[in-house]
């Protein structure tokens, strides 16, 4: 199973929730950063072949009631122009 890697995009919104976009498949989510860090297995799955594999331990923990971290390491800067 592969998981999304969400990064922030500019949305000019005044709410704390943020537009997040998967850097691989491009799917958009309107969520807070914390929500992106705690996604369920169903929410986290990404079909893009380049998306990272979910480590077995993380997946197992998610199945036991845990969650998956889907925030890209460079989430704050990935979509920002240099």
């Amino acid at each position: 199973m592969r998981k999304h890697q969400f990064a922030k995009i500019d949305c000019n919104c005044t709410r704390r929730a943020t537009h997040l976009k998967c850097v691989f498949c491009g799917v958009m989510e309107y969520r807070s950063l914390d929500e992106a860090r705690r996604m369920t297995l169903g929410q986290a799955e990404c079909q893009h072949p380049d998306a990272p594999q979910v480590p077995p331990q993380e997946k197992f923990r998610a199945m036991m009631g845990g969650s998956l971290d889907c925030l890209a390491p460079d989430y704050d800067t990935h979509f920002k122009p240099d």
Binding site: P55, Q57, F60
Partner: protein, 408 residues
């Protein structure tokens, strides 16, 4: 049309008093008095609570207008306008006293209608501002007093300056006053670990604000409790440190629950690590999720740092590295118990040989279920042959089955 004011007139000269009263009535205001003596003016102010006081400086009796003004502004918070024939030139000392009396305005005699009107407008404005300020202060005071979290202000020397009731009660004091006067040194009396406050101050100096600073502190009765502090250093315009402000939450229940949870987890880990058998939790793709110390020693060697302590493999393999189930082969060359489990499910057991090396073991595989009941993995127990993890009949059957077969 503006609301008429209730104005107390304090004037010992009857002509002057009549003039002031006349002007006030002409402007539509209500007159209280006139009072000829300072003491009488203070009494009327206390009893009648006027909106404003016109106070002559020189009054009959022992109390002059400046002293009466001081009493009225301090005790009843009523705006006072002083009226006098004295000037800076004629009575310098008196004018010095006027400045510190708390009077809102000053009118020279003879008082004109314009001067009176202007001063009463100032009184109205002052009253409105004052009421707004009082409301605002009451609102914040109410938040401060009724907050369920502790709030305090402390000086850099280590004494509490202000505290709310919740904080005082959290530490076992009967009220904020008791806490402020009773705690002479926060460092010595409150924190359990010596130097803990200095640690907090050092972080405040470096970072300005510190959040979630968890410490053990003493209550007044000597009980220890855990608190989490969010603290900010407050500086003046020149950058000089004035005081610290802190918000405190009692997290004793949370910390104790964490300690109980750690103890329970430690017992479970020690129990599983004490077993001589290899115990491994696998997912359905044969990845090792967790294993006991015996298995870690087998896989990594006895000298490996991971071999002794925790059997939780997640910390070690989180991310890129995947630890796979140990390779083994069935004694009869057919599918191993794990293969049978992955194909058919249910409990599976049988003799196997661990690879490499060919160590003979009996292998038992049990399904591992998620909270909702779905099978998401397997618990695999590998026991050195002869010690037997199989039931007696299974062990006999397994040995009979192995008779005559060639070992690996």
């Amino acid at each position: 049309m503006t609301q008429p004011l209730r104005v107390l007139v304090a004037e010992d000269d009857s002509v002057g008093a009549a003039l002031l009263c006349g002007l006030l009535v002409r402007e539509g205001h209500m007159v209280i008095g006139p009072a000829a003596m300072g003491e009488e003016a203070v009494r009327l102010a206390r009893d009648e609570r006027p909106d404003a006081v016109l106070m002559d400086i020189w009054l009959a009796g022992d109390m002059n207008g400046v002293e009466a003004t001081r009493a009225i502004t301090a005790d009843f918070d009523i705006p006072v306008i002083l009226v006098t024939g004295a000037t800076e030139a004629t009575d310098h000392d008196l004018m010095e006293q006027v400045v510190g009396s708390g009077a809102l305005g000053f009118m020279s005699k003879p008082v004109t209608g314009d001067a009176l009107r202007m001063n009463l407008r100032i009184v109205r404005h002052h009253t409105r501002l004052h009421a707004r300020l009082r409301d605002s202060e009451q609102r914040y005071r109410s938040i401060f007093d009724n907050a369920v979290v502790g709030i305090y202000m402390a000086d850099p020397e280590g004494r509490y300056l202000v505290s709310n009731r919740a904080f005082a009660e959290m530490l076992g004091w009967s009220g904020p006053g008791d806490l402020v006067s009773g705690v002479r040194s926060i460092d010595a009396q409150v924190y359990e670990v010596p130097g803990r406050r200095q640690e907090l101050l050092a972080r405040l100096r470096a970072e300005g604000t510190v959040a979630g600073f968890v410490s053990q502190v003493y209550g007044r009765d000597g009980d220890l409790l855990w608190v989490s502090e969010h603290c900010t250093a407050v500086h003046d315009w020149a950058g000089e440190l004035l005081h610290y402000e802190g918000i405190v939450v009692n997290v004793t229940a949370r910390i104790e629950a964490e300690q109980r949870w750690r103890t329970t987890l430690g017992i479970l880990r020690s129990t599983i690590d004490a077993m001589p058998d290899h115990v491994v939790l696998l997912d359905l793709e044969r990845n090792v999720i967790m294993a006991n110390a015996s298995w870690v020693r087998q896989m990594c060697g006895a000298g490996h740092p991971d071999a002794a302590p925790s059997a939780d493999m997640a910390g070690q393999v989180e991310g890129a590295v995947m630890v796979r189930c140990p390779e083994c082969m069935s004694e009869d060359g057919g599918p191993t118990p794990l293969d049978r489990f992955l194909r058919e499910g249910g409990h599976q057991a049988g003799p196997v040989r661990l690879l490499p090396g060919g160590e003979a073991c009996t292998c038992s595989v049990s399904p591992y279920r998620a909270p909702e009941g779905t099978v998401i993995g397997a618990v695999l127990v590998l026991r050195h042959d002869g010690e037997g993890c199989l039931a007696g009949s299974e062990r006999l059957a397994a040995r009979a089955d192995m008779t005559g077969r060639r070992g690996v």
